[in-house]
Symmetry: C2
Subunit: 190 residues, 2 copies
């Protein structure tokens, strides 16, 4: 396979050339937010884009490394900040590395026992997501949260556990500041 | 294993905290440069640091991802720009991803048949080094070349082939500009 470059606009996070852009609107994940009334209102007002992922496409095979830029837009659903859906890797024994390039965020991690950890995301933070930790990123700032992510190409994604159960914590705005709180709806479904 | 953050100073490339910093001085790689007279002179004048690597330490096992920041200082040995030693991975079937954060460079790649490719390195360039390609980075600018690198933690390094044979091309300054030229000494040793 031939070596190649992609180019990241370090301000907007856009990647050129990019064959695969994932766009997540509120309608793709409305049930993941706490305040369903606020979610419905936002859906009716225009169904905002919550985040975009610019994927660099490589073979989904051992030895290769998937890499992408995620851009989470600033905003809230009720008091809860815009965030990614979050997932485990389908191959749970694979890690991921984030390098934050712009903005301010909180990375929520949760293991299979439901234990959670949070890490700060700010320009220059390199966050290590070890094997067996689900991960969700939350934009707690006023500008886009832009981060570069790398993971083994065979890792895959398992969204189902998170879609059913959610994370045990949420990040909400409280007195104008981000606060990590227990998620009253956890475990959902299950 | 617990999630953790490292913090990259996006200007200097220094990483905090960092348990493992590799410092390569000219004396560690003097024979890799073409102009041996210039190399000897620089060694006598003070043996400059060519580059530093700030390694984030993770288990060297499947599923983990080694990550580091490399900082190549600006400078030349004769007409040849400062560069890394370059290596294959010991597990040759493993890729690597670079995200350049500062400076201007040229990434030299060479496969096991001795075929070479070059990629530009500039802020925002995401360079994909597929499995089976040796890689060396060259600072062709006037400021430090700073890049973030991620690779499978079990990849390891094989410096021996490159130390014996070198790369088939070099990057030299010609009329004030970087130029990729055939390496007159290739294959060395062999």
């Amino acid at each position: 396979m031939e070596p190649f470059n992609s180019y990241v606009d370090l301000l907007s996070g856009e990647v050129f050339p990019c064959r695969q852009v994932v766009v997540r609107r509120l309608s793709d994940m409305a049930r993941m937010f706490q305040d369903q009334q606020a979610a419905q209102k936002l859906l009716q007002e225009g169904n905002p884009v919550i985040y975009r992922v610019f994927n660099v496409v490589v073979p989904e095979e051992y030895g290769h490394l998937q890499h992408c830029i995620s851009v989470i837009f600033p905003g809230k659903v009720g008091q809860e900040y815009f965030m990614t859906k979050g997932h485990f890797h389908a191959r749970k024994d694979t890690a991921e590395v984030y390098l934050t390039l712009r903005g301010n965020g909180i990375l929520i991690l949760q293991n299979q026992r439901g234990e959670t950890r949070v890490l700060e995301m700010r320009p220059g933070s390199a966050s290590y997501i070890p094997p067996f930790w689900a991960h969700r990123s939350v934009n707690v700032g006023k500008e886009p949260l832009v981060f570069f992510a790398v993971y083994p190409a065979e890792a895959g994604h398992d969204y189902e556990i998170i879609e059913k159960q959610g994370f045990a914590v949420s990040v909400i705005e409280h007195d104008g500041k981000p606060k990590v709180v227990a998620n009253p709806g956890y475990p959902k479904g299950g």
